[in-house]
Structures are given as structure tokens and as C-alpha cells.
């Protein structure tokens, strides 16, 4: 075993025959400093009985590895989704900041001014009569443009989240799906995270404050925005967040490794949530 752990074992070190998926992973991710007579080594180690069997195993594993690696490299779409959700957040933040600024400025001159996109839209329609008003209305127009961009980005995020991660999107909605993928750094990375990490993604500050000591452990990160967490009585929110994170993790793995839509995940989560919320009445 020590020989295999040195990093100079073959791709088959430590795996059983016909574990094609495991073999594919070691082929794609493993390494060795020098080539060896791998077919003979595989026979000596009892991985296979003869050369023909070895090449058969090798063929299955390399084909699987190549297919998976190609898919993975071509599926860089998740990186595009990450850019989209970040751009959406930036546009939204800028629109909010400008809305407050414009409402404050307009409020110094117009008693009916209020913070909100409806007022901003109305303001943008007005004809300026003097230079200060001209600037306020120009800013209002910028906000309307930003708001339209937010809507366009949201549509894009919805479409791409749906095609990249159908199961996650079904459970979490497109925006939260995109945020989770962005926090993890990609769908594959998200699929490889334990549920406990998914539960607190986006709450890293709170998590490290807890680990340093003193602070309590965070119950949820970005998944807080999910109705199942936010809409649950605070007493049971930790349980709700844990249950949701568990299902989201499974969904991310199915999305990454199979891509097939499994509607049953949704109803399973729904039942689990009903039980958690029923504790209130117990």
C-alpha cells in the first residue's frame, strides 16, 4: 500500500476491477513521476488476471475519463452563469444606491418624492425646466436603464440556471442556484461540497468568527433567501436550513454527474419541511 501512496502507483492503484468511474477519476486526476510496466504491475497486484483483461479495463476507464473531461471542459457555461449573477447583483446595487440619492435630491424640491422605482420612472418622464432638474431627471433615466438591465440579466440567469442545473433550479429557484454556484466557484465544486458547507455558503465571516471562538455557529448563508428558511419559525430555522442544504447538495450532484431532472426531489423536500414546521403545533 505504501508504494501506491507514494504517487507512483498506476491509475488502478487502490481500486477494484470494473469500478470504471473511479478509474476514470484517477486517470484524469492522478499522476506519476515515471511510467512503469503498468500491465504487468496490474497483474502482480491482482487487479486483473492477464493483459487482455487489463487493456479491457484500461479502455473502459480512458473512454469514460475522456468523455467526462470533455463534458466538463465544454460545460464552462457555469462560469458564464457566475458572471451573469454577479453583473445582476452589481446593477441592482447601483440602481438601489442611485434611487436613494435621487429620491433624497428630488425630495428637497418635490414633496411627493419617494424611494422606489415607480417614482423614479415617473420622474424620468418629466421635461426638465432648469439645470438642476435636468440632472435629477438624467439620473432617473440612468436608474430606469439599470433596472431594465437587471430584468434582462434576470431572464438570462433563469434560462441558463435551468439548463445548467435543472434540479437545483427546481428546488432553489434560478437566482439562488446561481448564487450557490457562484459561492462555490462552479457547479462541479458545489457538487463536491458537503451539505454542511452548502448550508453556510455565503456566511464565511460568521463561520470563521465562530471557529475563532465566541460567536455562535451560523445557521445559514445565502440559502437564507429561500422561503423554506426565511418562512420558518426562527426556532426551527436551523433544522429547515439543514434539511434544505441536504437536498440542494443532492440536487447539485445529480445536476453535475447526470444532468437528468428528478421531480421527486421537490416533493421529498416538501414533506420534510412540513414535518419541521409541524413542530410549531406540537
Amino acid at each position: 500500500m505504501s508504494e501506491d501512496d507514494s504517487g507512483d502507483g498506476g491509475w488502478f492503484a487502490g481500486i477494484a476491477p470494473n469500478e470504471t468511474d473511479v478509474g476514470a477519476t484517477t486517470i484524469q486526476e492522478g499522476s506519476a513521476t515515471t511510467p512503469q510496466q503498468w500491465p504487468q504491475r496490474a497483474i502482480e497486484k491482482g487487479f486483473v488476471n492477464n493483459e487482455d483483461e487489463y487493456y479491457e479495463q484500461l479502455r473502459e476507464a480512458t473512454l469514460t475519463a475522456a468523455r467526462q473531461a470533455v463534458e466538463q471542459r465544454e460545460q464552462a457555461d457555469d462560469q458564464q452563469l457566475i458572471h451573469s449573477i454577479r453583473a445582476l447583483d452589481d446593477c441592482q446595487r447601483l440602481a438601489n444606491e442611485l434611487t436613494e440619492r435621487v429620491a433624497e435630491w428630488a425630495g428637497s424640491r418635490d414633496a411627493d418624492a419617494e424611494v422606489g422605482i415607480a417614482y423614479i420612472r415617473e420622474l424620468a418622464e418629466r421635461e426638465p425646466t432648469e439645470p438642476v432638474e435636468e440632472r435629477i431627471i438624467a439620473l432617473a433615466n440612468r436608474i430606469v436603464d439599470l433596472d431594465e438591465e437587471v430584468q434582462a440579466l434576470r431572464t438570462l440567469v433563469e434560462h441558463s440556471a435551468q439548463s445548467i442545473a435543472p434540479n437545483l433550479t427546481a428546488l432553489a429557484g434560478a437566482e439562488l442556484t446561481a448564487r450557490l454556484i457562484a459561492q462555490a466557484g462552479g457547479l462541479e465544486k458545489l457538487a463536491k461540497l458537503p451539505a454542511g458547507t452548502v448550508q453556510v455558503l455565503g456566511a464565511e465571516d460568521a463561520l470563521f468568527a465562530h471557529l475563532r471562538g465566541g460567536a455562535s455557529s451560523p445557521k445559514h448563508g445565502v440559502i437564507y433567501t429561500h422561503e423554506y428558511v426565511r418562512g420558518t419559525n426562527p426556532e426551527h430555522r436551523g433544522s429547515a436550513a439543514r434539511a434544505l442544504a441536504g437536498k440542494l447538495t443532492i440536487a447539485a450532484r445529480i445536476d453535475h454527474y447526470s444532468g437528468e431532472y428528478r421531480p421527486e426531489l421537490e416533493s421529498e423536500l416538501e414533506k420534510r419541511m412540513e414535518r419541521i414546521r409541524a413542530r410549531d403545533n406540537a
Binding site: W11, I27, A32, T34, Y55, E56, A65, A66, A69, E74
Partner: protein, 210 residues
């Protein structure tokens, strides 16, 4: 010199060409189980067609660097034994996987030929390395992969002048790459691949023992 077992001259549709036996791959002409090894699409076929001893033989173990969509490596696998096909780009690899699915002895690897440690745990020592990588520092790639060759094993490289430096004179580029090669290999033959492949030099070399 004679052709390796499994490679022949044969006339198909009135045109004489090299052929191997295997599943068709790229729309090449066929005659029964024989399929044409198109010299305008394969640098190795040009060398074989000119009776140059490449070291390709029936049942030899081969490492092919820069397999692309599998045009040439499919013929190599028709003739040779275990054939390891390294290709770095995902898109051609998808075609290569299709080629490998039709062959028992062709193993596709989505790897970078500049990083041999990433496939040394898969590839066994081989009798022949065929290198056709369209990247810079083709000489260095050949040296880095020398460890895969058995003693006396051969390297067939097609050096693409334009991959090294499009602005320089191809002859100067060839000379420089050959000089790099000679630190690890004994160069046996060099052959211009014109008119089939412009600005390419075919090189057959033998591994110097360490």
C-alpha cells in the same frame, strides 16, 4: 524497406494509396475492410509512403501526442498494439472518443503533452512515439516524453515551423528544433513533407540511452 504488416498499397476508385484495415473514420475511400490512409491528411502516411522506416510495426506499443480528431491515430491503432492517444483540446477529443469506441486498442487521454507526469500513471513504456503537436517548443515536448520510450524506441515528429514562429524562416526553425532533439535523441532521418504538408519537416529519431 517494406511497409509494416497491416499497411499496404492498394488502388481504390482508380487511385493508388496506402490502406489499413479498420472502421472508417473521416469519410476516406474504402474497399472491403481496407480504408485509405490519406497522405494529404496524415504526415505519418507521407513518411511511410516514401519507404522511410518509422518504427511502426504490428503489435508495437505506441504513444501518440497531438492525436487531434484521430485521423492518423486511427490508422496507427489499426496496425499497432496498445495505442495511447494524447490530445489537449476538448472539441477534437470528442471525435477521438468516437474513433476509440470502434477500436479495442486505442486509449484516449485528454492531457497536455507538455505535462507527461499527468499521464505517466496510465501510459506504459512504448516502442514508438508519434508527435504532431501544433504548439511552440516541439523539441522540448519530445524531450519531456522521452521517458516513455523503451531502449532503442523511436520517435517520429512532424515539426510544424509555423507553430514555433510564423515570422521566421522554416529552415532556421527546423534547425533549432533538431538541435534541441539531439540532446536526447539520435536523429536518423529528416524529410520535407511538401507537397502534402507545407512547412513541415518529418523527423525519425532513436532514443539515446540515458
Amino acid at each position: 524497406m517494406s511497409l509494416p504488416d497491416g499497411v499496404q498499397w492498394r488502388e481504390i476508385d482508380g487511385e493508388e494509396g496506402l490502406v489499413t484495415r479498420g472502421e472508417p473514420v473521416y469519410g476516406e475511400a474504402t474497399d472491403g475492410e481496407w480504408r485509405r490512409w490519406d497522405r494529404s491528411r496524415s504526415k505519418l502516411a507521407v513518411l511511410l509512403g516514401r519507404d522511410i522506416e518509422t518504427g511502426l510495426a504490428a503489435d508495437s506499443t505506441v504513444l501518440y501526442l497531438g492525436a487531434a480528431s484521430g485521423t492518423t491515430v486511427s490508422h496507427v491503432a489499426d496496425v499497432a498494439g496498445p495505442t495511447y492517444a494524447v490530445e489537449f483540446a476538448p472539441r477534437p477529443m470528442r471525435d477521438l472518443v468516437g474513433v476509440a469506441e470502434d477500436r479495442e486498442n486505442l486509449f484516449p487521454l485528454l492531457k497536455d503533452a507538455r505535462a507527461p507526469e499527468t499521464y505517466a500513471h496510465v501510459v506504459e513504456p512504448v516502442d514508438l512515439i508519434v508527435q504532431d503537436v501544433a504548439i511552440r517548443e516541439q523539441g522540448k515536448v519530445a524531450l519531456a516524453n522521452k521517458q516513455f520510450l523503451r531502449d532503442g524506441g523511436r520517435l517520429v515528429v512532424s515539426i510544424k515551423a509555423r507553430s514555433e514562429d510564423v515570422t521566421r524562416d522554416p529552415e532556421a526553425v527546423f534547425e533549432e528544433v533538431l538541435e534541441t532533439l539531439e540532446s536526447g535523441y539520435e536523429v536518423l532521418e529528416t524529410e520535407s513533407l511538401d507537397p502534402f504538408h507545407d512547412d513541415h519537416l518529418g523527423v525519425v529519431a532513436r532514443k539515446k540511452s540515458d
